[in-house]
Amino acid sequence: MSRALPILTVLAGIVVIWYAAAVWMNSTWVYDQAERAGTTVSFAEMVPQTMTQDRPLLPPPHQVGAELWKGLFGQAVTSKRSLVYHGYVTFKGTMMGFALGIIVGVALAMSIVRFRVMDMSVMPWAIISQTIPIVALAPMIIVVSSQLGLTGRDVPKAIIAAYLSFFPVLVSMVKGLRSPDQMQLDLLRTYGASEAATFLKLRLPASMPYFFASLKVAIAASLVGTIVGELPTGAIEGLGARMLIGSQFGEPLIMWAALFAAAILAGLLIVTVGLLEGMARRRMGVPA
């Protein structure tokens, strides 16, 4: 309870500020309307009107909540208006990219730790690759993959998501695979352990805490990649596409609901990775 209280206070503070900002930002429209109608509105009349606009500049929390509820539970999950459906499309892309990112990241990390020449030639470029805003590549990846005959958006989205998520995995795994100290490595050498045995029995288990720590970052990055991959491409499915539709048709509520659905999805993914991490730690006998 002593941990929850400060968090709840901060969250309550955010809601209060949000409501105040909603009144402040939406009031312009109310005053405009009143001026056009030749009437004046008092402050007490203005406030309720800022809470119920169809296209508010900043929708108050309860409006976003209502739209989110409608999108999540208001219709069949197979409906094109259902956020569950769009969320599932985004989730699928995220998972594909995440899996691809882990495979590439771990494979690169293994070869970097094993071969000095890989370490010297690939590692600097891996770092530089992250300073490139890959999202710039998103529209191009989609055009190119359709030129190559890959219809559908799953592959391009997964590539973008994987690009953003492989780097945290790579960096942590390099650190993790190198974390056994010289004593432990020497001990295995005195046992006459082969290189494969050293890898499987010492390096790999030692890298697990680093691996799981990186997964939380990687899955968040993967989700960002997927959403960005849905933006500039004329996609019609997925949370990113919902945001774009809301933006193009001037429907702020759709944008906000999609944004919150994305936030909920991100939260669920991070919590799931955290649970998996806890399970793995217990299996490996690490005290919690």
Binding site: P6, I7, V10, R116, V117, S121, I132, A136, V217, I227
Partner: protein, 281 residues
């Protein structure tokens, strides 16, 4: 096909050279550390050129590096205008404002343990959310010009920097803080002389993460509407016209700008945190 085989031969030769270099004494010198990745990068370009020429890859799929270089040389004024719009007007002001705001808030919540316990988990959580989704909303609020791009960047860089800064302000040891207290140092003196310097490695870590986010934010925000220049605008329109050489030229500029920004922050970090163990070689 000859071009392809030449490129493959160059690749194999360069790789063998790199293996030899990595095993030699030169690998422990700074010169060798720079040479190996440079050779690797150059061979990637050679292989790319050879692949495109040897296999006759259509320019709408992948233009050769030489074609892209020629495009950069021709379109320099356009690329400069895009760069100025996106990086100089959008990303960098947004980055500075976001970092400044994060600094002020970090010091403010550092003074209140209650707020810290509440804000840090929330901040950590928000830092992991896809904030780039706010781009369409901020474009709606601030209009199509650079102000909305800077606003997206502010929001995107704020939380990573804040979280790192708050963690950094905790980095000084109890003993050191007690020592400052015995000297009768005020809060601000102890902040300025002890805790901010101790926080610097964390702060720079946050700034480095944020430098990439800043570019992503500025470019993505332009997908939602922009004036008729800007890197995000250029990419989305040129892709529509299948002008892939111009897209790659813009990406090259973005890559250079991103690396330069990151490198600049690393240089400042080296200068500020020269005392930190990670800076000793």
């Amino acid at each position: 096909m000859t071009a392809l085989w030449v490129a493959v031969a160059v690749w194999l030769g360069a790789w063998a050279l790199n293996v030899a270099l990595a095993g030699s004494a030169l690998a422990r010198r700074p010169f060798g550390r720079l040479l190996v990745p440079l050779i690797f990068g150059a061979t990637v370009l050679v292989l790319w050129e050879g692949l495109v020429r040897g296999l006759g890859v259509a320019p709408v799929i992948l233009p050769a590096p030489s074609v892209i270089a020629a495009k950069i040389a021709v379109e320099l004024p356009t690329l400069w205008a895009d760069f100025a719009q996106t990086i100089l007007k959008g990303a960098i002001p947004g980055f500075l404002i976001g970092a400044g705001a994060a600094f002020v808030v970090a010091v403010a919540i550092d003074r209140s343990p209650f707020l810290q316990r509440g804000l840090l988990p929330v901040g950590n959580f928000v830092a992991a959310l896809p904030i780039v989704g706010l781009a369409p909303i901020l474009v709606m609020w601030f209009g199509f010009d650079w102000q909305s791009k800077a606003a997206v960047v502010v929001v995107m860089v704020f939380f990573p920097i804040l979280v790192n800064m708050v963690a950094g302000l905790q980095a000084s040891e109890r003993m050191q803080r007690d020592l400052m207290a015995t000297w009768g140092a005020s809060y601000w003196q102890s902040l300025w002389k002890l805790r901010l310097p101790a926080a610097m490695p964390f702060i720079f870590n946050g700034l480095k993460i944020a430098s990439t986010l800043a570019l992503i934010g500025a470019i993505v925000a332009e997908f939602f509407g922009s004036p008729i220049y800007g890197m995000g605008f250029r990419i989305s329109t040129e892709v529509g016209r299948l002008g892939l050489d111009m897209v790659w030229a813009t990406i090259a500029v973005a890559a250079l700008a991103g690396s330069a920004l990151y490198g600049l922050i690393t240089l400042i970090e080296r200068w500020v945190t020269f005392w930190h163990p990670s800076q000793r070689h």
